[in-house]
């Protein structure tokens, strides 16, 4: 099977699954068969089969392609699928052109592999839900859109995938739409993302028009890459920042991160797939994809890195204080995304992507195991009612611990390797502050990860009744957990640091895409790297120990561990009030103008229009006084007219 065909299978197997499931969903929406317990109806079985088969086919195709690529020369690791023109703009074309190169393939592998596992997991997790077919429709459609995003060769097609995943995210967050708050969370996610999308659009416009004078305007990424080096630096910086604004929305960077915690309203597999492993990393991918532009705009890179650092820190502080199991992980995701951007900002694109890669595994695992916990507790999400689950959940428990440890960066798990690489990259990029923030964040990450482990698994049960009935889920849920746990443990091997005796296979793989020699090429001083690694391990260990010890004992509080901190703790808990601030600064003015100012303006306009007529009508009423009904008044008017005419005649008569 040729590469092109493989690519077609990768793209369209999920789409086909989505279409089939969509038809089934429409049918089942009308012909409702009642659901009994956590069982699958016949239609759900069909849906599950199709829904898992689609991504599975894509996964197999992707791995086939990957294995094939491995056997090829670096320069030949590329395949394209051309489906003709989408539309023309001015003199340029936008083509349905899909391309897989080393970078895209990494993303495709993540999306398909992790995606398939999460699909499988969902079969168990969503069993018994009335909207099962609908769920799988959106999930498949999401997979398709995400694959379009990562394989698109044209920025506009990328944008199609970008918005496509956004709309699927919207639909899945609001999946339980009968709860208005959940539907509203979806709305918020979509609208906040749209703000970012506007930046992305504007960036595209700028690039397009900057190319127009050359007569070669296009939004083809390859053409753009060749073109951007000719841009003036300020222009390139502006374009880079505008594109990054899009990434900020999608990848939840401060201050556009506010939608992500709310997005936890969706079912947990959704959080795992979309809001941890794949969609939220689209921004990272996009920046990496546009790396020639960012290389050309160092100021933009510095901005990205700084914002990433800020996001990492802020989100980590918030994650420390959350009591909803999913929200902790959600904030953790925001924080890790900040890490990724820090890596990108340091110019170490492959490191950023690598963290994306490992994060996909351990964060998906984190969410899925959390989902299994929630599933076991019949939907309970508050950690305050958990505890003592270690003995009940013999598979989920260890998976949860592995995920937390990887997230915390405990060696030798994958999270440790990628995080360490980012810290090293920050150091080499001469950004000591990033390093400091990164270390601090790493400590806090370890703190909250183990705080969560302690609260959920350790100690006695806080809610005996709830925990008593906890049970392990079926194979469809545990198998993905096991496989993802393997990934979370082993993924670190791909980029095991030199100084610890490893080989940078991952970076090597991406080298044809990114510039041949970058941050990794300048590992001049392994000693410094070793010191950094040791330092980070120490910080992580401290954080993990504190987190565990404070919360593992019976009756440990879920709130502030130390009373004087209570005020700050509260602020952190509320996300530093960013949500409220944005609400006041943006939402309220818009709502005010929509409810009051704009209608009032329209009222004024209508009133003015009426006022003109009204004024004339007043003048008419004034005139009507003369129309008194008295003949002599009429005669008087005539006389006046006559006098004027005669006067006119006399005055103009002597010509």
């Amino acid at each position: 099977m040729s590469h092109v065909h493989l690519l077609a299978w990768i793209l369209f197997a999920p789409l086909a699954a989505a279409v089939f499931n969509g038809l089934l969903a429409l049918r089942s929406a009308r012909v409702t068969v009642p659901v009994e317990g956590h069982h699958l109806r016949p239609i759900d079985r069909a849906v599950a089969g199709i829904g898992v088969a689609g991504p599975l086919v894509a996964t197999l195709a992707a791995w086939t392609l990957a294995i094939d690529f491995l056997g090829r020369d670096r320069s030949l690791r590329l395949t394209e699928l051309d489906l003709g023109t989408w539309f023309t703009m001015g003199q340029a074309h936008v083509s349905w052109l899909f391309r897989v190169d080393a970078l895209s393939l990494v993303m495709v592998l993540i999306v398909t592999t992790v995606g398939t596992l999460i699909h499988l997991y969902s079969v168990g997790y969503m069993a018994g839900d009335q909207g099962f077919p609908r769920f799988f429709t959106w999930l498949n459609l999401f997979t398709f859109a995400m694959l379009v995003l990562v394989t698109a060769r044209d920025l506009v097609v990328l944008f199609l995938g970008w918005e496509g995943v956004g709309v699927c995210s919207y639909l899945l967050i609001g999946y339980w739409f009968s709860d208005a708050a959940k539907a509203a969370a979806g709305l918020k996610a979509f609208v906040v993302n749209r703000i970012g999308d506007l930046g992305l659009l504007l960036g595209m416009f700028l690039l397009y028009w900057s190319m127009v004078p050359s007569g070669q305007a296009s939004l083809d990424i390859d053409l753009l890459s060749a073109h951007v080096t000719k841009l003036s630096v300020p222009l390139a910086t502006l374009a880079a920042v505008l594109l990054f604004i899009g990434a900020m929305g999608k990848s939840a960077q401060v201050p556009l991160h506010i939608w992500l915690p709310d997005a936890m309203a969706g079912p947990t597999p959704v959080s795992a797939l979309i809001h941890a492993a794949t969609m939220v990393t689209a921004g990272v991918y996009m920046v990496a994809r546009m790396h020639p532009l960012y290389h050309h705009a160092p100021a933009a890179l510095a901005f990205i890195g700084s914002l990433g650092a800020l996001t990492a820190l802020v989100a980590a502080t918030v994650a420390c204080t959350q009591t909803n199991i999913k929200r902790v992980i959600a904030w953790s995701t925001v924080s890790q995304l900040g890490y990724m951007f820090m890596g990108l900002g340091a110019g170490a694109f492959s490191v950023g992507i690598y963290h994306l890669f490992t994060h996909a595994f351990f964060k998906a695992l984190f969410f899925l195991s959390a989902g299994a916990v929630i599933h076991a507790l019949n939907g309970e999400e508050e950690v305050g009612r958990m505890g003592g689950l270690w003995s009940k959940l013999r598979i989920t428990g260890p998976a949860f611990v592995i995920a937390a440890a990887a997230n915390a960066g405990i060696p030798p798990l994958s999270g440790f390797v990628s995080k360490d690489a980012i810290l090293v990259a920050a150091w080499h990029a001469h950004q000591p502050w990033w390093l400091a923030v990164g270390l601090l964040t790493a400590g806090m990450t370890a703190f909250y990860s183990f705080r969560l482990v302690a609260l959920v698994l350790a100690g006695p049960a806080r809610d005996k009744h709830l925990v008593e009935h906890a049970h392990e889920a079926g194979w469809t849920m545990t198998v993905p957990l096991l496989l993802l746990a393997c990934g979370a443990v082993a993924a670190g091997a791909l980029e095991w640091p030199h100084e610890l005796g490893g080989t940078l296979w991952f970076s090597a793989w991406l080298e044809p895409v990114f510039y041949p020699s970058l941050a990794h090429g300048v590992h001049a001083n392994p000693v410094v790297d070793l010191i950094l690694t040791a330092g980070s391990v120490a910080v992580v260990a401290t954080g993990a120990a504190v987190g565990w010890s404070l919360h593992a004992r019976p009756g440990a509080p879920t709130g502030s561990p130390w009373t004087p901190l209570a005020g700050v703790w509260q602020a952190m808990r509320r996300g530093w009030f960013v949500d409220e601030a944005l609400e006041r600064a943006l939402v309220r003015p818009v709502v005010f103008s929509s409810r009051a100012a704009a209608p009032f303006l329209d009222f004024l306009l209508g009133w003015m229009a009426k006022g003109v007529v009204g004024g004339l009508s007043m003048a008419g009423r004034g005139l009507a006084v003369a129309q008194s009904g008295l003949a002599r008044h009429y005669a008087m008017a005539m006389l006046a007219g006559l006098v004027v005419l005669v006067a006119w005649a006399v005055l103009s008569g002597g010509r």
Partner: protein
């Protein structure tokens, strides 16, 4: 001898109307058997139909004695040393007047029967009025024309006054008569001064004299001009000489209002055209600003007054003041170039205005007497539809006669360098929407209240409404007169109009 008699054939419509009127007088006392009113109505109808047919026939096929004028196909026959002139314009006026009389006759007779004031005089006076119109059209002398106007005026006084038992009619006739006499005196004063300036009131001599006027006599001519314009302004109801019209229109029975608003006004306009465009062509520079000013004032005042009217008849009265303003725009644009586009435009406008208002008042009569206008669409869909057509024509909506007229007059004004007046006219059209549209809305969407009488209109009234509103569309559709398969009504009207303009110069 035969040949000589034949040369008098063009006078046939005029003679027919005058003799028909006198014959009616003989009939009034004699017909006492059967249904005298009906007999008199038939008589009036027959006279008018004959006059209409004769006029149109003479226009279509000019006979011996009618000399061609210019290259437009216009013609003129003159008698008794120019005292009587039959040309394209007089034939048009006679055709319009007879047609107008015919179209109001069913409604008028019906109204008179309801008010029981039809005793033969009514029908006779209607024929007299048309005869007066014919005299205006055929007069070769300004004073004769004026007398013709007086014949029309006295007939109208009678027609309004016959409805003796209605106080509003009494009031209307009193005001009309007093102010009419007042205006006649002013007009006569003007004619006296014109006589003083030129030594004659014959249109031909006036034309010759005014073309080569010694500067010394200019002052007295200007005096005459001012007074004549004032008197004419009363006759055509131009502001500020218009105030009688609303009260008189309101006080009269609706079909009669229709007659006054159309035939009488058009007659006065034809007289004004004869005097100003033909007789005083030489001093067009002097009267053009006067007419322009009157046009402007009429449009403004008419609109402002019409905006606040609740009674549709009064509203239409003031709206007809506005339309007088548009016609005066055409008159002003025609100054100095009677053979040009502007006169053609003016005449087309007169025709359009005539048919539109005939239809409008006829429909208003039917709708008004069957309850109010509100929601009439649901009760009398066809009559309401005809009413809508005529209101749209008043608005100047495309494919109606009103649009054709407005279009031609306004562009003629642009062409004549009176852009400001054209702009004002268009602004006035915009403003006029503020009262026409509510009328439309009342008919279409109003909620009918009160008892609904079912005073079914007579068949003849239906025919009159159908014919007049049909003419509105037929003439208006001429703008789409594409390739001959569309109705070429507008084309005929325009052709006749152009010829009517051509005969104003020697």
């Amino acid at each position: 001898m035969n040949l000589q008699l034949a040369t008098y054939l063009p006078l046939a419509p005029l003679a027919l109307l005058v003799l028909g009127a006198l014959l009616a007088l003989l009939l009034v006392p004699t017909v006492r058997q059967g249904d005298p009113d009906r007999t008199m109505a038939w008589h009036a109808a027959m006279v008018n139909i004959s006059a209409l047919v004769l006029s149109v026939t003479l226009w279509v096929r000019p006979v011996i004695g009618m000399e061609p004028v210019g290259t437009t196909g216009a013609f003129r026959a003159s008698y008794l040393g120019g005292a009587l002139v039959v040309d394209s314009l007089s034939l048009l006026l006679m055709a319009l007047a007879s047609a107008g009389a015919l179209l109001v006759l069913p409604g008028l007779v019906a109204a008179a029967e309801r008010g029981s004031f039809a005793h033969g005089e009514l029908q006779a006076l209607l024929v007299f009025a048309v005869a007066g119109t014919a005299i205006v059209g055929c007069a070769g002398d300004m004073f004769t024309g004026f007398l013709g106007l007086e014949v029309v005026a006295l007939s109208i006084y009678g027609l309004v006054g016959l409805d003796r038992s209605r106080p509003n009619a009494n009031e209307a006739v009193l005001k009309y008569m007093l102010l009419g006499a007042f205006a006649s005196a002013i007009l006569l004063l003007g004619m006296a001064f014109l006589f003083g300036a030129t030594g004659s009131l014959s249109l031909a001599s006036l034309q010759a004299a005014s073309a080569h006027l010694p500067p010394a006599r200019h002052a007295v001519l200007m005096l005459g001009l001012a007074a004549v314009v004032a008197g004419l302004a009363f006759k055509v109801a131009a502001a500020p000489f218009h105030m009688w019209s609303a009260d008189v229109y309101e006080g009269s029975v609706t079909p009669l209002t229709g007659f006054m608003a159309t035939v009488v006004k058009v007659t006065a306009f034809v007289f004004a055209m004869r005097v100003l465009l033909s007789g005083l062509a030489g001093v067009a520079v002097d009267w053009q600003p006067m007419v322009s000013a009157l046009a402007a004032v009429s449009m403004v005042v008419g609109n402002l007054m019409a905006m606040n009217q609740r009674n549709p008849k009064r509203m239409l009265a003031f709206s007809s003041v506005v339309h007088t303003g548009y016609m005066l725009v055409g008159l002003a644009a025609a100054a100095g170039n009677p053979a040009g586009e502007a006169v053609k435009a003016l005449v087309v406008y007169l025709v359009a205005y005539l048919v539109t208002n005939l239809a409008g008042f006829a429909c208003l009569d039917v709708l008004d007497r069957n309850g109010s206008l509100d929601g009439a669409m649901h009760r009398h869909p066809w009559v309401s539809a005809a009413f809508l057509v005529s209101v749209l024509s008043l608005v100047g909506f495309p494919l109606t006669a009103g649009f054709l007229g407005k279009y031609m007059v306004f562009s003629a004004a642009f062409g004549a360098g009176l852009g400001w007046l054209a702009i004002l006219a268009i602004a006035s059209s915009m403003l006029s929407l503020s009262y026409y549209l509510p009328l439309l809305f009342r008919v279409l969407a109003g909620t009918s209240s009160g008892t609904v009488l079912s005073l079914r209109p007579a068949n003849a009234e239906h025919v009159a409404i159908a014919v007049s509103s049909g003419l509105v569309v037929v003439i208006g559709a001429g703008i789409l007169a594409v390739a001959g398969w569309m109705v070429p009504g507008a084309h005929w009207v325009a052709q006749w109009a152009q010829q009517s303009g051509a005969v104003l110069l020697p």
